[in-house]
Amino acid sequence: MAGERADRRPTRWHIAVFLAPAVLIYTAVMIIPLFGTLQLSLFSTVDNRQIFVGLKNFATLFGDERWADSFWNALWNNTWFFIVHMVVQNPIGVLLAALLSHPRLRFSAFYRTAIFVPTILSFVIVGFTWKLILSPLWGVAPELLDMIGLKHLFTPWLGKEDYALTTLGLISVWQFVGIPMMLIYAALLSIPEEILEAAECDGITGFSQFWKIQLPLILPAIGIISILTFVGNFNAFDLIYSAQGALAGPNYATDILGTFLYRTFFGFQLQIGDPNMGATIASIMFFIILAGVCLYLFAIQTRLRRYQF
């Protein structure tokens, strides 16, 4: 009986039809190029022809002293860029969200919008605006510091090896702090009033209420933000390119994987592009991000406790 009924059940075409657009588009613009890149990294151009070389490009990237130096420099810079975001952007995002969700805060809609606006600006605008603000010649930064008597603290940050990358990290934080703020703000709003009231009955108020009740409840949101930050940072390119150029000066101090990939793949000035080595770097970036995301999914997300209200 049961088998017969299953046989008679019509093919559910609508599932395939509804899935098709997303699957097709995603396959065309993401999956095929991704495998194309992986494939390209296994080839090398000899006499204008593509020759299969196996893992030789990867061996060059890690084995050749110069390639390896550039790669590890870019990877470390990228990691530092990520650390700056994790240490500065996300705590500030949580703090801002906590302040915004405070019931007695006035003009919270205004603050929320103002803090979120930079996120929708183009990287190019952000890069050039900050370049101008920090310019030692025409920037407002030296004058503002002068006004409060701290002129001696001013240095041409974007031109110094020691500061340039951190400065760019902070510029990026300024631009994107709105995103963790919004996500955490939404998570905080979804915590039912009753729980907080119950906590108050138990004598947990103020900061310890945030620490003991709200923070554990928004941990999944913080996890998602961390992984978004990770993926975003290891794919970053635009800000560095618009502020420092493709050579990511001074002395490659701001070179991250994205700019390294760009220079290698497309070439720069007299350097002719090398799509195969570029694809090799892109593949490594993909593996790094894949490893990071897997680590999060399997090691962290499964251990996060979720609460249903």
Partner: protein, 419 residues
């Protein structure tokens, strides 16, 4: 975000592309170029002059940003969407395009006889058998100075290195002007306006450049390290925060009259003429001792070639023959003082500053930038590394010897004659 921009861009170009097709009755030639500064000159002077003589051919000048040009052009050529006429970078960037069959051989083109082999060297194969771009112009390096500032502070135009630094010291002591307008933020200024500007006097122009290519000299030899040592001294004469000063910043600093000396390429002349309201002069890179032969970098900079896959090859060749004619040379050299014609026919120029630059050709030895021919074929790329190292040396983060040693090591890693 970027993907959305790209989609919008693709949509936009396809719409414009359709609009373009709908209008085109005549043959339309598109020129790819990195000289977006020249847009007005092409649209107002060069293209009308050509179209008046060649009815039925329309020309569109379509430039992109200089630093993106090579990458953008390569991508367009690979995709088959590049214009009919390709503005050629000198040496390997264009040679690579020719070797890939993307640029056509122009050896038989009418008008090519107007150029010497030296003029064509930057756009010919290593054996000189094929030439694939029509040479347009070269640029000369030197220093542009603010005549008013020199008169006010009482500085004489320097001829030797000693006089040069004495002048800078005097300007610095006076304090009214920043002695020299240059920044290291964009890196290439340090290499192009610094190292390649003063360098030929030390390595004796062509002699040193060719010896380096043959492997007879090394970048660690004194004549190649000394220019770095001289650059290291520039640090004290640049403006506050020069480490974060970009190329446009330097240009503005000079044209606003706040700096006295600008290490220049002659391509600055037309912009400076329109922006600066003080009188300008120019002096050649200083020699070591009075009476030494002077050397200048007279670098083949720009040419124009034919996209091998262009559907309008005949019209494009007509245009290229016109580019090779003395008529084009005269319009171009006068519209863009500072881009000196490579044509064998002498070209009359009206601009005083341009005349000053070109006058050095008479008593100085000319050379081209040392890193451009052959030596930038490998990875690491010598030209790009020279940018980084020159900036390091001026910033004081690396000694001249260490910078030279690194460059030599990089070059020797792939260039056999230097091993």
């Amino acid at each position: 975000m970027t993907r959305k921009t790209l989609t919008a861009f693709l949509l936009g170009t396809s719409i414009f592309g359709l609009a373009g097709q709908a209008q085109a009755q005549d043959t339309t030639l598109t020129i790819e170029s990195w000289r977006n500064d020249d847009l007005a000159i092409w649209q107002e002077k060069l293209i009308p002059a050509f179209e008046a003589k060649n009815p039925g051919i329309k020309v569109v000048f379509s430039p992109s940003a200089p630093t993106e040009y090579n990458a953008a052009l390569n991508a367009k050529l690979d995709a088959g969407s590049a214009g009919d006429l390709i503005t050629c970078r000198p040496f390997d960037a264009s040679l690579e395009l020719y070797d890939k069959g993307l640029l056509a051989d122009l050896a038989g083109l009418a008008g090519m006889e107007n150029f010497t082999d030296v003029a064509k060297s930057a756009w010919s194969t290593d054996d000189g058998a094929a030439t694939f771009c029509v040479p347009m112009a070269s640029v000369i390096h030197g220093f542009i100075y603010n005549k008013d500032a020199f008169a006010e502070v009482g500085v004489e135009v320097p001829k030797t290195e000693g006089e040069f630094f004495a002048a800078l010291d005097k300007l610095k002591q006076d304090g009214t002007y920043i002695p020299m307008a240059m920044g290291t933020k964009d890196l290439w200024e340090a290499a192009t306006m610094g190292y390649q500007n003063i360098g030929p006097s030390y390595w004796k122009g062509e002699e040193g450049r060719l010896a380096l290519i043959k492997g007879e000299q090394k970048l660690t030899d004194p004549q190649w390290v000394e220019p770095f040592a001289a650059l290291a001294k520039w640090k004290d004469y640049l403006g506050d925060g020069f480490e974060a000063q970009s190329y446009p910043d330097s240009q503005n600093l000079f044209t606003l009259g706040r700096a006295a000396i600008y290490p220049a390429g002659s391509w600055e002349i037309s912009l400076f003429n329109t922006q600066a309201d003080f009188e300008m002069g120019a002096f050649a890179p200083p020699v070591k001792a009075a009476g030494d032969t002077c050397y200048i970098s007279d670098h083949n900079d720009i040419a124009i070639g034919l996209n091998a896959n262009s559907p309008n090859a005949d019209a494009a060749k007509t245009f290229l023959s016109w580019v090779a004619s003395p008529e084009f040379a005269t319009i171009y050299a006068n519209a863009l003082p500072g881009f000196f014609s490579l044509s064998s026919t002498p070209v009359e120029m009206e601009d005083a500053l341009a005349q000053e630059f070109v006058s050095w050709r008479e008593n100085c030895e000319s050379t081209i930038r040392s890193t451009y021919q052959i030596l930038s074929r490998g990875t690491p790329n010598l030209e790009n590394e020279t940018w980084v190292k020159s900036a390091n040396v001026i910033n004081g983060t690396e000694t001249p010897e260490a910078a030279a040693a690194e460059l030599q090591k990089g070059l020797a890693s792939w260039y056999d004659p230097q091993k």
